[in-house]
Subunit: 461 residues, 2 copies
């Protein structure tokens, strides 16, 4: 067969096998693998075992690997092509409040809705449905060709919804075994529910918390007001100066390591025609509030931020207390991009804030100078363009390399502990209600998701 | 007798009678008239009755007048001279924590201390000792001259330490009976523990509380940070602009009704040689933080302020939450002077703040547009200079008209409900520990306080 015919055969197989693929997903969804609740420990192990058994039928050498928490599923199989590691998680969120569910969250059902057929169950989208898209693609490949399409490692976590306490130690202890050329992660969604997307930039984060002190006790504003330093005033003046009128962060050196968006990405992002009015309108806003000379997508994907996340001081109870407090407090965080170094940013922030302190004031810093840098994938790796072409073919819309405003820890861990970049490809939609009652996964997303992976694997193989 | 000889005879009498005056004060101090605790209701009535009996022995027509709370003592006596009303309060603060007292708070004792003899008991300074200085002055006058020195009304409250719930209704119902030409209030102290002082200016107060809203829900800074409006930033920018770099309030029109200090007062205040380094040093500060071109005493007595008393928004718990909150909150108050109108100031503040709101933001105001104006006594009334001369004679130091940074509600009530100015003259010291364990009143203050009133009354008569 030609490569084209090879793939077509696999895609046909996927279409024919969809009812069985769905039945298998239903089986997995019936296992209430709620990782955060110790009462479901055995169910988590059961889900891991189910996956191990299923992967073995595809020729994987698979095992449920114990951890201090829930087991990891690790499977190896195939030869040739690019060695990729696929990551997903088999654990799910709790279901409370149960009364808001239309049916038993662990009794999955395909339902007709005005927007099409959906698979309704806890974990349907996050992440059992998504991880099964990859496994089903492997199954179809194996059925058609008798072997897996490439050298594959499958790595499925059972603690993603409960803080991943075992993840880093497990990766450290098994680094040689887990290391591949590239990671594939299926835990994200389509851009604006329609455009296939590969997340290649994730912002980092640096956090700072401090107390600003003036007098050694709270003062009465009748006795001292007008004469004594009010730390609330000092704090507002410092924080008000975090940005200039154009929204640019004023901490010296803040933008030193920030790269401009490459033209290729800029064009892709423009083509996305992001509807920022709807994005903001959904939360009661209308006007972009960031850097004046940046597009909305740049603001959330490729530009760093300085944000006050918490601020308090003085009296905040009912009624009034004319107090001049001795202290004022703030929590400030920075979203980082490109090569920005969290420690360097935090140190610059501290220096900048302290330089503005008037007499009699001091700042006590409560945080360590640390954080996580941005994850920026090396899209020069031909695998990225290959995957983009594959997704474009499947969805009939030009796929894009997109950013993510927040971090996705696993992507950073793969880089830090295994030295791999990751391609984040997922098929969720914004209305999947992950973490909420009545979670669903569109049957269409499940089906096209399987086909997408077949196309991606064909190109990587 | 000449007027001088008249007075000298009274002063001699006061000196000779001091042990008995002290014994009478001790009797009053033994009554635990804690107004805020219902368990002491009968004791409050007993203190009122004790005062009524004592005033009757001086020729006053006195009565304990019922209220929904504790009784008022009202007494009338004397003829001629200026008709003055004397105000004090017979109730006292609770004594908790009792374990910190060196002795029973209601078993008064004269103790020797390195700084001289003190009367140790709850209420010794606040306000039984102080109110008895006036009554003892009347007693001595009566003993020497057979009559009271002028037409006097005595008005003693029993709820001053518990919010004065009955005071305004009682004053309204008995306004004709209580109205005099001038009120005397003995519930304040010496300036810096040494200089006799008459408080003639009390700052007013206007209070504002508001919520600043942006998005209609809390947002995640990973998803929205850099694009969505953060109300904490908006709030800090508005409040940071309350003052310019010289400490001047920036609300338009704020200073319109602020009078400059008259030269006569400016000279008196300069003569006080206020030790602002000690005043600030006592609370851990060193540098005046108010208007750059004003003296420290002006800052706290005769200049208006704008102060943030409370500020909060976002996450303030342990750890971190990278939230962009939907709301930010502030409590802001203004100390007012001269003819500043609270409603006008608050309206100007609202207009000024709202003018700075960026798109998508709104302010919800939680306060009514109201407050209390400053109390500024008419020191052109010759009684004020007469009292100042009397105090100067007694204490051997030039007495001064001083200000008070906070309001003393009773002074405002006399102006509002009875149309009278008040002279606030008191003999407390900063270390009297009023409201705290081991309250005391210097025996010297008690003695000279009685003599001070005799001198003041002689001049008013």
């Amino acid at each position: 067969m030609t490569a084209r015919a090879d793939l077509d055969a696999v895609l046909n197989r996927i279409d024919q096998d969809l009812p069985d693929a769905l039945a298998r997903l239903m089986e997995l969804l019936r296992i209430p693998s709620i990782s955060t609740d110790p009462a479901y420990k055995a169910e988590c192990a059961k889900a891991a075992d189910w996956l191990v058994e299923d992967l073995r039928t595809l020729g994987f050498e698979a095992a449920s690997r114990p951890t201090p928490g829930h087991p990891m599923v690790v499977a190896h199989g195939g030869t040739g092509g690019k060695h990729v590691l696929f990551y997903g998680h088999y654990d799910v969120q709790p279901v409370d409040p149960l009364s808001l569910w239309d049916r038993d969250p662990f009794d999955p059902e395909v339902q007709d809705t005005p927007k099409g057929k959906v698979i309704r169950a806890r974990g349907a989208s996050d992440d059992k449905g998504q991880l099964m898209t990859f496994i089903e693609a492997c199954r179809a490949w194996k059925a058609v060709h008798g072997s897996l399409p490439a050298k594959l490692t499958i790595f499925l976590e059972g603690e993603e919804e409960s803080g991943s306490p075992s993840l880093i130690p497990f990766m450290q202890e098994n680094a040689d075994e887990l290391r591949a050329e590239l990671a594939l992660i299926c835990d994200t969604g389509l851009f604006e529910d329609a455009v296939p997307a590969i997340t290649t930039m994730l912002r980092g984060l640096a956090k700072s918390e401090f107390t600003l002190r003036a007098a050694d006790r709270d003062l009465h504003s009748g006795m001292y007001g007008g004469l004594a330093r009010n730390p609330l005033h000092v704090l507002t003046r410092i924080l008000a100066g975090l940005h200039d009128d154009s929204g640019r962060v004023q901490v010296p050196g803040f933008y030193d390591d920030v790269a401009e968006l490459p033209d290729s990405l800029r064009q892709q992002w423009q083509a996305l025609a992001f509807d920022h009015r709807k994005f903001l309108g959904d939360v009661g806003l209308s006007v972009p509030a960031g850097e004046a000379d940046r597009t909305p997508l740049e603001m959330i994907w490729s530009r760093p931020t300085a944000e006050v996340n918490g601020l308090w001081g003085g009296y905040n109870g009912a009624g009034f207390k004319t107090v001049l407090p001795s202290e004022a407090h703030a929590k400030v965080s920075f979203r980082l991009v490109s090569a920005q170094d969290p420690a360097k940013v935090l140190t610059a922030f501290r220096t900048w804030a302290e330089a503005q302190l008037p007499p009699d004031c001091e700042i006590i810093w409560h945080d360590a100078v640390e954080g996580s840098p941005a994850s920026v994938m090396s899209i020069e790796d031909p695998a990225f363009e290959a995957a983009r072409a594959a997704l474009t073919e499947e969805w009939g819309r030009s796929a894009a390399f997109v950013g993510a405003g927040g971090s996705i820890p696993i992507a950073g861990y793969f880089k830090t502990y295994l030295g791999m970049d990751a391609m984040l490809i997922g098929f969720g939609r914004d209305d999947d209600q992950i973490h909420s009652p009545n979670e669903k996964y569109d049957l269409d997303c499940f089906h096209k998701g399987i086909r997408s992976w077949a196309r991606v694997l064909a190109r990587l193989a």
